[in-house]
């Protein structure tokens, strides 16, 4: 009987361990949009990594700067060479925590809104940020989404005088990802 109890306890322990799942993707869509009266600039990156630890709420989003694609090759060049200096700072990363992770049930259909609070690092500058996050569970499809605004000045991204009017100080960033359960 005692053995049975231990077996049960072990099974329970095992099942909670497997529930402490990670959800991830390596094809997160990240885009940004700069709107000014002179010019609209858009770029997107479809190879972002997003990992959520459903037990702790730990979240990491990472991408390479050079994987952002622009409509024009020349814009992409300027973005990499003049603004983001991507040879020196090849990455952008967000590391933080999802608030109220226990209120999100990754196996129960629904739409859950929360916040991700942590550190956004790009162009070698770290900034504390808190952004709204929506997690949608539809059958076995889990989608994570956020939208927030970034000011290039906060990341010491230097925009020279002649093009200042062409690049917004409120650049809208969107992230959308379809997450899969990590199987080990």
């Amino acid at each position: 009987m005692k053995n049975l109890f231990f077996l049960f306890a072990a099974l329970l322990g095992f099942s909670t361990a497997t529930c402490a799942q990670k959800y991830f993707t390596r094809t997160a869509h990240i885009d940004f949009y700069s709107h000014t009266s002179i010019e609209d600039i858009k770029a997107e990156n479809n190879s972002g990594t997003l990992v959520i630890d459903a037990a702790t709420g730990q979240i990491e989003v990472a991408c390479t700067i050079k994987a952002f694609e622009f409509e024009k090759a020349l814009m992409q060049e300027h973005f990499n060479e003049n603004y983001m200096e991507s040879n020196t700072y090849p990455n952008a990363t967000f590391k933080g925590k999802l608030e109220n992770i226990s209120s999100i049930n990754f196996t129960k259909p629904g739409s859950y809104t929360t916040k991700a609070t942590g550190t956004l690092t790009m162009h070698g500058v770290e900034q504390a940020v808190s952004v709204p996050v929506t997690i949608t569970v539809e059958g076995d499809k889990i989608t994570g989404e956020t939208r927030f605004v970034v000011n290039p000045n906060d990341y010491k991204i230097n925009i020279p005088g002649p093009v200042k009017g062409k690049i917004s100080e409120a650049i809208e960033v969107k992230v959308k990802a379809n997450l899969a359960q990590l199987k080990k």
Binding site: R26, N46, S47, V51, A62
Partner: protein, 139 residues
């Protein structure tokens, strides 16, 4: 004399204009246009970044490289373009490849594949990936 100056100026303006138009419409870079700067396995590429990211960036960042590896996942990205995950020696790490929009794709899960792609570096700590874009399978 005046006419000559005017003509020279006009030609200069036309050349500058044409060059401007050329720059503005410069085509995007694809991996198939260039010779590979290095040839290695997905495991070698990842371990190079994992052991010395700065050194690996100097070697591979923005370069067309040829990578061999086993396909562990195939997915379409948000633009409907095929992506491949290539295995490395670390189960949490991968080489993430996105095909060029018009590139032929013969990948199946478990298959050994050879790809040419532009390396944009490594991203992430929990599940690191080395990222290749504009990939194509060499003929």
């Amino acid at each position: 004399m005046k006419k000559k100056i005017l003509l020279t100026l006009l030609i200069a303006a036309a050349v500058a204009g044409a060059y401007g138009i050329y720059l503005w419409n410069k085509p995007k870079r694809t991996a198939s246009d260039e010779e590979a700067a290095a040839s290695l396995t997905a495991a070698e590429l990842y371990s190079s970044f994992a052991t010395d990211a700065t050194g690996a960036n100097a070697l591979y960042l923005d370069k067309v490289i040829e990578v061999r590896g086993t396909v562990s996942d195939i997915a379409l990205n948000a633009d409907g373009i095929a992506t491949l995950t290539l295995e490395t020696d670390d189960p949490m790490a991968a080489v993430m490849c996105t095909y060029a929009p018009d590139a032929a794709n013969t990948a199946t899960i478990g298959k050994q594949i050879l790809l040419h792609g532009i390396c944009s570096g490594m991203q992430g700590d929990l599940m690191p990936s080395v990222v290749l874009s504009q990939c194509s399978e060499p003929q």
